[in-house]
């Protein structure tokens, strides 16, 4: 379960940073905050599926 959450958190972090960078946030601090937000959303989304 922990590995499942971490996996989706990593995917969310990657997505969050990429989205923020594309939307114009270029500072490293902003990208870190975006990655953390993305990781949180990814972990929350992981709760909706069991992982098979």
């Amino acid at each position: 379960m922990i590995a499942h959450l971490l996996l989706f958190a990593a995917a969310g972090a990657c997505s969050g940073a990429l989205t923020a960078h594309s939307a114009g946030w270029r500072a490293a601090r902003d990208l870190v905050r975006a990655a953390l937000a993305g990781a949180g959303m990814g972990a929350l989304a992981a709760l909706t599926v069991r992982g098979g």
Partner: protein
């Protein structure tokens, strides 16, 4: 009914891909006219082949899925109510006094929120959000990537949704049910959101969108204005406090953009202005938008609708259907609007635009008629037969079955998914045995995810076609490219390495890196954009999907890349 099926498939393809072709008959210039004529032709073909008119008609009507239709209606109603309670004003006041950007965490959370909510249809969230504008009010260069990422997750989350998701259709064909497939789709969607934003940025920066550095006036992003299929003229900084356009009387139309749209842009596909989906109410019942109501009314309305979406997504579907929750939430929202903003329920119901509902219904009739005439049957059988040939082989057939909903996007992916899932399943051990159990699961995951992802870009009732959002010139190709490039390789990688997270993350990083390389090459100054990007993305995705889903081999990867190139070229030509 082989000849009738072949003709039906041709009619379906022509109806969905002839958007850019000049048609001499004036009545067929609009998509609605084309869809109507194509549906009538398909029904006629089915009737001639069967010798009975009632049976195909009954089959067509039975194929219409009620969930997206009702979800769209309730989403539009919620959009009207949220707008009337002043949610847009609340949002903009929260951003500060100079149209400042929201915190980056809020932007990312909004873009990925649909995946957490995981609704069985994206319309309830997507329509309300685009119409009331949680993503509006930003400068164009920032709002386009965010809006595209949000659209990708909202109109894609219906595949892995826990309650009534499209992936559930694969339950009977996937070993162990669809749990692993849903997880794979969620993993792919998470990364697809970022990829969509990157593509949208590249398309906007590369000149695919007129006036990429302009700020879209707030009124043009709100649905109450006359949204034209042109980019608005540059405007100064966002005026605050915000003055919402009045619901009565003519609303200001954005100025026509003098710069021509490139021929490869999807904006050229619909030369006629998009009808305003939220026309201003007229007559004695028309009332101005209550801009002076307390901000707490808007906040309460937003909280009610948020709680409704949460309940619809995560409630026990065996006890209460998601639609019931949405209907109850819309009723509560009506009460909030009635008591807080003095908006009568009859006025709210009367303000729901009928145009989007008619469009999506016509799209369903087209898809149902195509199914009744055997178009999907013929396409599925042809793809299964092709899997036994040297080319495209099983890898190519896997890709073609999976990408077919994306190449022929319908107003809702459920019909194509329901029609094609048996053919995808028959490629596996329970059928022809051309794919392994894991390859079959990858094919089913790709098919149902592409079906879910396809509805937003569909000309027949898709979200972008319904809204007429001026940002769609960059959003539509970005949504296409991200779906093409991530749905196959990432679901296949997840299903192959879900027990080895490090290998899976490495595979995902490889997919992202290759996409970024394609982005850099295809959108470099002087490079050929549009078609080159679609083909490049599809070649990479095809080779990776074939390698991840089947036993890796050079021949298999080459077949996957060749089929991917074909699919990319078809997509680029169809969207011109």
């Amino acid at each position: 009914m082989t000849w009738a099926s072949a003709l039906a498939a041709a009619v379906l393809v022509a109806a969905l891909t002839a958007g850019a072709a000049p048609i001499a008959v004036p009545g067929l210039r609009t998509l609605r006219g084309r869809v109507l004529v194509a549906s009538a032709l398909l029904l006629l073909l089915a009737a001639v082949a069967c010798g009975d008119l009632v049976a195909p008609l009954r089959r067509t009507l039975a194929a219409i899925p009620l969930l997206p239709l009702a979800s769209l209606y309730l989403g539009l109603l919620a959009a009207v109510l949220l707008h009337r309670t002043g949610v847009s004003g609340v949002r903009l006041r929260a951003q500060g006094a100079a149209g400042r950007r929201p915190p980056v965490e809020v932007a990312v959370a909004i873009a990925l929120l649909p995946l957490v909510l995981s609704l069985p249809c994206g319309h309830a969230l997507g329509m309300a959000s685009f119409a009331t504008g949680p993503l509006a009010g930003l400068p164009a260069m920032e709002s386009v990537p965010l809006a595209a990422a949000f659209a990708r997750t909202a109109y894609g989350s219906c595949a892995p949704a826990s309650a009534g998701g499209i992936a559930r259709m694969a339950d009977a064909w996937a070993e162990g049910g669809s749990e692993a497939i849903r997880a794979a789709q969620l993993f792919a969607l998470l990364i697809a959101a970022g990829a969509t934003a990157a593509y949208a940025r590249a398309l906007a920066r590369g000149g695919e969108v007129p006036n990429p550095k302009s700020q879209i006036p707030i009124d043009s992003q709100l649905p109450i204005s006359d949204i034209q299929n042109t980019s608005p003229a540059p405007s100064p900084a966002l005026p605050l406090p915000v003055t919402l356009a009045p619901a009565t009387g003519p609303s200001p139309a954005p100025a026509a953009d003098p710069s021509p749209v490139p021929s490869g842009s999807s904006a050229a596909a619909a030369p006629t202005p998009v009808a305003n989906p939220f026309p201003a109410p007229t007559g004695p019942s028309a009332a101005p938008v209550p801009t002076s109501c307390s901000p707490w009314v808007g906040r309460l309305a937003l909280a009610v609708w948020g709680a409704t979406l949460l309940a619809a997504a995560h409630a026990d579907v065996r006890r209460i259907e998601p639609l019931t929750w949405l209907a109850v939430g819309a009723g509560l929202l009506s009460l909030v609007a009635a008591f807080g903003a003095r908006v009568a329920p009859s006025e709210s119901l009367g303000a729901v635009p009928a145009g989007p509902l008619i469009d999506i219904l016509l799209g369903f009739v087209l898809a149902g008629a195509a199914e009744a005439a055997g178009a999907f049957d013929l396409l599925g059988r042809g793809l299964v037969s092709a899997a036994t040939l040297a080319f495209p082989g099983p890898e190519g057939a896997l890709l073609l079955v999976g990408l077919l909903p994306l190449l022929l996007p319908l107003g809702c992916g459920r019909i194509a998914a329901a029609a094609l899932v048996p053919f995808a399943g028959s490629l596996g051990p329970h059928g022809a045995g051309l794919l392994s159990a894991q390859g079959t699961a990858a094919c089913l995951a790709m098919l149902t995810l592409c079906a879910a992802m396809s509805c937003v870009v569909s000309p027949a009732g898709g979200c972008l076609a319904l809204l007429g959002d001026p940002r769609r010139a960059a959003m539509r190709p970005a949504l296409d490219l991200a779906a093409l490039g991530t749905a196959g390789p990432l679901t296949a990688a997840y299903l192959r390495w879900r027990d080895a997270p490090v290998a899976l993350l490495f595979a995902a990083a490889l997919v992202v890196a290759l996409h970024l390389a394609v982005l850099r090459l295809a959108f470099a100054p002087g490079a050929i954009r549009g078609r080159a990007a679609a083909i490049g993305v599809a070649v990479v995705a095809g080779a990776l999907t074939a390698s991840f889903a089947c036993d890796p081999s050079l021949a298999g990867a080459a077949r996957g890349a060749a089929v991917g190139a074909l699919a990319g070229w078809t997509l680029a030509e169809a969207r011109r």
